[in-house]
Subunit: 341 residues, 2 copies
């Protein structure tokens, strides 16, 4: 056997499950040997990750079984990622190609058939944001579940986030009047001045009930909810006939040890003959190409804008995840761990 240089793969693993808002001491940075090309099985490839995703849903993954099994202590933190193939025994993943998929907070990852090629000419950051899981979530949630019509009033919570900001703009492109909720004056200004929202409500400083009545004087036709919690009750009191409430996430509750009470006024769904529906983007896998094509078109035409914020270095990933829950970011937050190829 030839001698092989032993190289190292740095990864972030779960140290302990969080209590309350996730903090950095829940994670460990570990070094493991990097498998050489000879360790790849048929169909596998080795990817050097460039961007790692942080997403609110990871707060669930590290705590409990959800739609995916819980991450166990000692396991690498599962995450979206984009990177470059550096060794391959898979003809669909040639060395040098750019790929994205669900790997983890790890410098290198051995991947199988579940990766997607990043199409030529697509910006790697766009592939991780407006054309990635968050953009696709916004697309299917708004168009398939929310179905906004011309002149309807659409409310989006978490509207300055990666998903909410795209969801709101898609509704606006459909001809709806869009109102967003966000947590800082800067975020609200971004929504109304740059993204074409008709109004924005600062849920930290304003009287949300009063502002909802003011900005949605005829009621709410579609509510795209990223936040959950008390806001839903205020919205239910203001829905119009045949309203659609899109349950996308409940970031306000992911950190709770005890689940909070739900809205006391679900009867509004009866009185207004309305619907509340949850969805997961993974169910739309077959339609990703259609969605990515339309999203790209809107981006090129200048109708759809997106913002990406980048934190540097693998060790920043836990801090980045925490920032999602403390209102620290606008748009999509990524962690960059290698230069773009």
């Amino acid at each position: 056997m030839a001698e092989t240089e032993v190289r190292v793969n740095r990864q972030i693993v779960l140290k302990q499950r969080p209590t309350g808002v996730v903090s950095e001491d829940c994670f460990d940075l570990v070094e493991v040997p990097l498998p050489g090309p000879e360790a790849l099985a048929d169909g596998e490839a080795l990817v050097r990750n460039v961007y790692l995703s942080v997403d609110p849903t990871q707060r669930g993954w590290i705590s409990r079984d959800t739609y995916l099994p819980a991450i166990q202590p000692g396991q690498v933190i599962r995450s979206g990622s984009a990177g470059q193939v550096v060794a391959s025994r898979n003809a669909r993943l040639p060395v040098g190609s750019l790929v994205s998929g669900l790997t983890g907070w790890s410098e290198y990852a051995v991947v199988g058939g579940n990766m997607s090629a990043v199409p030529a000419g697509v910006d790697l950051r766009a592939s991780m944001s407006v054309l990635g899981a968050t953009g696709l979530t916004a697309y299917f949630g708004m168009l398939d579940i929310g179905r906004p019509q011309q002149e309807e009033t659409v409310l989006v919570s978490g509207a300055a986030g990666a998903t909410g900001s795209v969801a709101g703009q898609i509704a606006r492109i459909q001809g709806a009047r869009v109102v967003g909720l966000a947590g800082t004056a800067e975020k609200c200004a971004w929504l109304t001045r740059e993204l074409g929202f008709a109004a924005a409500i600062n849920y930290r400083t304003e009287d949300v009930a009063a502002r909802l009545s003011e900005t949605c004087p005829n009621g709410i036709d579609v509510y795209f909810d990223n936040v959950g919690g008390r806001l839903l009750e205020l919205v239910l009191d203001r829905i119009r006939l045949k309203a659609r409430i899109v349950l996308c996430g409940a970031i306000s509750q992911y950190s709770d040890e005890e689940p909070s009470p739900g809205p006391r006024n679900l009867m509004q769904l009866v009185l207004q003959r309305s619907r509340m529906e949850g969805f997961l983007v993974f169910d739309y896998l077959e339609r990703y190409p259609e969605a990515a094509a339309r999203l790209s078109q809107w981006v090129r035409a200048g109708d759809l804008r997106y913002r990406v914020e980048v934190m540097e270095g693998l060790e920043a990933a836990p801090r980045a995840l925490r920032a999602l829950f403390t209102g620290g970011n606008t748009g999509k937050l990524l962690v960059q761990i290698a230069p773009e190829p």
Copy 2:
């Protein structure tokens, strides 16, 4: 002017709004002059009511604005009714014909164009139950919103009530496996022995969570909810992928002065990609004939059974309404105030 005999019309009016479970002291029986035929305007008819309906939704009507304006103190209690035309200036409502519609707790009612003819050969009690508002509610709620499929598990709360008992049987006719919740052993026995429910749970005496897991071992595909409240949370924990929750009513909450907290686990709708939807039967007005025809067919074929309980006399109506909230009735409860013609 000829002398006219002054005749009397007895009515039940709202005396005061209820607190908690509705009681008889909220109502007054009053006597007002009965309008003679000469008092009818063009298009109007005078109906002598035979059957009056009592329905949980009336508890809302006497308390607050809902999908209809609140009944004010002094006003006749709005209700479904069936009776015979005794004077008419409306060619569609000839004297002697049987009609049903929304009149009130009143011996006689002046009606306009909103009454439906009871088709020849249709039993008047059937027209007020399985073919009336409650049967139609079950039909549209189950088939249009719930959409049960072969082999699916369908859960119905308030299953021994006028709506629930029909809803459950419609699901069974569609090939689903139906489980019902009811409040007495007799009601449960009726569901399983006579109506073809696969199982019934006595929510007053049994451990509902344990029995739900036992009777729905693979989870719940459709939940037809007449009851609201805590049960919904237990059901959400047991829904299957793409479940449909049909919000029909929330009888457990209509008597509350303060609204109860909602389910803490709405995120289940996301994780299971499921839907919760409310509806009102009035929205399906144009499809009543289709629904009544199919319901009649099922009744004639022996596939759909219904039970009507009758209380006698106008003064019984408040007691009958109260019985709906104390679990006193099985199937449809009617008040008969005149002999069938």
